[in-house]
Amino acid sequence: MTIDSISLSQVKDAFHFIANRMVDSKDMLTQADQAIGDGDHGIGMARGFEAVNNMLEAKTLNNVEDVFFNTGTSLLASIGGASGAIFGSFFMGAGKALQGAEILNAAGYQKALEAGLAMVKKRGNASIGDKTMVDALEPAVDAANQYSGSSLEELAGLVAAASHEGMEKTKTFTAKIGKAKTLGERTLGHADPGAISITLIFEALKEYISSL
């Protein structure tokens, strides 16, 4: 049986699951960033998602919008740097699109992803091919928009797969934005750490839903 929606308490559990995955990925993300950046991406994401875990425990979250939006503000305040602004903006934008939803279904996930991408692009001015997290996020949003079924589980799988494929492609790009841009061709062969992170987030959400 496929899952069409998850409840508010399941969304909270899902965000704990995502947060734990990100905290556990600290060393892997650090190594990925050391290859083409200054090596602080793993530390920042771990610090950010530890804050998300604390927020999920401490804060009263009345709907799915609250969970997404407060995840965004927690990341924005605790990561700092470009990652904080981008990942924070993504979840805040996604949250606003959910408009007080009490469950997360496929239609809601689609709207949230699209709005999240719009916020990221507004904030960071990155386009496909710049070797940023947009290279993994935009294909995921495109995949979501093409889906017309009602299964959240299926959609989450499509999103994770498209994001993964986009992330893999960043290995063939030279960085055009952020601190890695002056490395130019030296960034070839390495995936963008931000693209890895957004893929980890989508994969964790998919895993959580499939485990229900």
Partner: protein, 332 residues
């Protein structure tokens, strides 16, 4: 793991701030709930000057909060921009009705976080304007100057902006003078060994025993080329050549010179560099009005240095020459 004299790596930013506050003997105070410092008594009606960026570049930025310098500084984690709520808290502490000028290095993270803070400040009725410093000639060609990074030239811009913000009473005017100081500043750095981030304990880049990175950025970003280490005079000739032709600086110009230690370079090396810089500037008939030399804008234990020049006109010279006092920089 790179060796450092610290406690828990997670506490370095907090403990750095504590040490700085104590060293200032009350001349700066901490902003509540933010990793930011401000001058305790800012005259009513003064345009606020807020500088900031990632930690790890000490004494930049908080070391330049003082009289006729920055009114406040907000610092992020090591090599990461401060978050918007921190910037907003500092902005509120500095606003005395005339608005706040944001002055920081041109990096994606800083740009986004300060922009979000500016939007939040606007919602609270505080006007802000922004000058991003992009003095590093090695980081992008001139036609893409706003892709360039901000490095040690920050210091010249903060000096002029601080004096302008003390003298001028409109945010627009302080912005204009500060942007001019930014536009008249050029820098370039080199490194022979990397710095490291305390929390990872790892160097930010690798470099061979006998190699030097020409154009190295403040966080280990790649420069224009990696080469065999060369004698100081040859190196300085290459660096000044790129700096001089970029603005360009011309015969008859008057400049201020900054030779900045990126962390682990000796004063002896800086003085040897200075001697050659002066020889080249004298040949080019460029007059040096003032020289600053030392550790102002560092990258942890990176070994290397940068050369910065600020071209003066009458207005910039007036503001540059005004007395100023802070923990890291004093001019009488």
């Amino acid at each position: 793991m790179v060796k450092k004299i610290i406690n828990n790596p997670k506490d370095v930013v907090k403990e750095t701030m504590e040490g700085l506050l104590l060293a200032n003997h009350g001349k700066i105070v901490k902003v509540e709930d933010a990793n930011a410092v401000v001058r305790p008594s800012i005259p009513a009606g003064k345009v606020g000057l807020l500088v900031g960026g990632g930690s790890g570049h000490e004494p930049l930025f908080a070391g330049f909060v003082g009289d006729h310098l920055a009114d406040g500084a907000v610092s992020g984690n090591v090599f990461a921009a401060p978050a918007p709520d921190q910037i907003l808290a500092a902005t509120k502490a500095l606003d005395h009705g005339k608005g706040v000028l944001y002055l920081y290095g041109n990096y994606a993270g800083d740009n986004m976080n300060f922009d979000i803070a500016a939007e939040l400040a606007e919602l609270e009725g505080i006007s802000t304007k922004t000058v991003r410093i992009y003095d590093d000639v090695a980081s992008a060609p001139l036609e893409r100057i706003d892709d360039r990074r901000g490095i040690a030239g920050d210091l010249f811009v903060i000096k002029v902006a601080g004096a302008a913000a003390a003298e001028l009473d409109s945010l627009d005017e302080v912005f204009r003078v500060t942007a001019k100081a930014r536009d008249f500043t050029r820098s370039m750095g080199v490194a022979i060994s990397p710095g490291s981030i305390p929390e990872t304990g790892q160097p930010t880049f690798e470099i061979g025993e006998g190699e030097i990175e020409i154009g190295m950025g403040l966080h280990g970003e790649a420069g224009v080329s990696r080469e065999k280490l060369m004698p100081a005079d040859e190196l300085v000739s290459r660096m000044t050549d790129l700096i001089l032709k970029d603005l360009p600086f011309k015969a008859g110009d008057e400049v201020c010179l900054l030779i900045n230690n990126l962390g682990a370079t000796t004063m002896m090396e800086l003085l040897i560099v200075n001697r050659k810089v002066r020889e080249i500037l004298a040949e080019a008939k460029i007059n040096v009005h003032d020289t600053m030399m030392g550790s102002y804008c560092t990258s942890q234990e990176m070994a290397g240095f940068s050369i910065s020049l600020l071209k003066l006109d009458d207005e910039l010279k007036k503001y540059y020459d005004m007395p100023a006092e802070s923990f890291a920089f004093t001019k009488r």
